[in-house]
Amino acid sequence: MTLNLRAIRAIYLFEMARTWRTPLQSILSPVISTSLYFVVFGSAIGSRITEIDGVSYGAFIVPGLIMLLLLTQSVSNASFGIYFPKFLGTIYELLSAPISFIEIVLGYVGAAATKSIILGLLILATAWLFVPLRIEHPVWMLAFLVLTAVTFSLFGFIIGIWADGIEKLQTVPLLIITPLTFLGGTFYSIGVLPPIWQTLTLFNPVVYLVSGFRWSFYGIADVDVGISLAVTLLFLALCLVAVWWIFKTGYRLKN
């Protein structure tokens, strides 16, 4: 089977154009809102909080905040990207085009992930201005960045197909992703929690993402980096299976 590369390119460019059309909302606002955390927690309050494992508090929270942004942006981007054609009815064109689900997913998820990665790098650059950063394993840092962006864009794509109303579309990022990220060790090391909460926290997948990502910066981790990687890959695999099933059965796409 040969892929319809032109179709992937068409979808990808179409989705990227959507981003550039609204630069304030798509790029500037997430970058500013995340930067506020650096200003408040890094510079203002951070100086009164003791270092964690030899890392200043402002620097400690940077990997977690980038993760927070990656997760919410990937999910909302990818879910809106596919929800809108469904909502407007323009999905007819995707369904009647000579393309398979692989091309559709590569186009939509690729564009959503690209945008998240760009945002993540912008936040990283902004953080540099406010807090002292170091990156011990830059290759792993990029690998975690890309892997997370792709995985959660895929997750967002699934949400976008599942959602049959705007409310559902916004519920998942707001009610699931954000709490999981805040409770997933973005602002603290899970070592500070009481033992019972430490155990419960391990059921939160975001813990592994944040921990692995922070390890690539400072070499410190709440859980072993291998396990972090494995959990991320497992989640990616689950999303791939879900997408495959969706297109196989036509779930919420075809009658």
Partner: protein, 308 residues
Amino acid sequence: MQSIISVANLSKTYASGFQALKRIDLEIRRGEIFALLGPNGAGKTTLIGIICGIVTPSEGRVLVDGHDIVTDYRAARSMIGLVPQELTTDAFETVWATVTFSRGLFGKPADPTHITKILKELSLWDKKDSKIMTLSGGMKRRVLIAKALSHQPQILFLDEPTAGVDVELRKDMWQVVRSLRDSGVTIILTTHYIAEAEDMADRIGVINNGDIILVEDKVELMRKLGTKQLTIELQKQLDAVPDALAAHRLTLSADGGNLVYTYDTQSERTGITALLAELNHAGIRFRDLHTTQSSLEDIFVDLVRQDR
């Protein structure tokens, strides 16, 4: 002639239990304009949806130029352009961007010359940089047609293309359809304006309650099912059809001023000469004569009524 679309034993039952298509067989000839007529909910859009890949069939098989629409969907779909019934367009994109996108989606290399030509033919050229949401309904319809033609399809589906469209656009559109047909494109259209089918189509199919109840060459259909009526305007009103003329199938109009004779154009003898002679013999004088032929609309209404 080899069929370009071959539908065999095709059924569709929706999850709700509604059976939209009941074991349909249909052959579309290469290069023809085929009009599919039927009342609302008859299954027209479902049939088109299945052929184009939007609706999953429950049973049966469809071949597009020999390619199975399920197992060989890439080859099948790349031949087809679809103009959907609903005005489903993007909102924020420009006309140029959305039409270019469609071409890419179908795997064709970018071709600004072709896109320019289509936009000009559809009088969209001066709107090419406008956002779609700023366009009128008729203009959006043109955009949908331009998208469908962007990848140079061999087969074009037009699902109710003229619903809610003004006269000028309708003319433009039929001009485009005719020139497409002249270049060898097969066109399948559904319409509510039966006059359009009568005007445009080579063959007519009538679908009702999920069944194809008739497929016929248009001229043949009009000839076979078309009856002709001869209306005789009388000089003096009559109270009833005179006994002397009872042998003829005559009806008297309500005001008694016209005699209407219904005859079959197919038969050897229409009986007109004899009728006129007998009118003369009976001393009934008339002012004028005219004949009318039943339109496709009459035929269609009759067929669908019979089927109920």
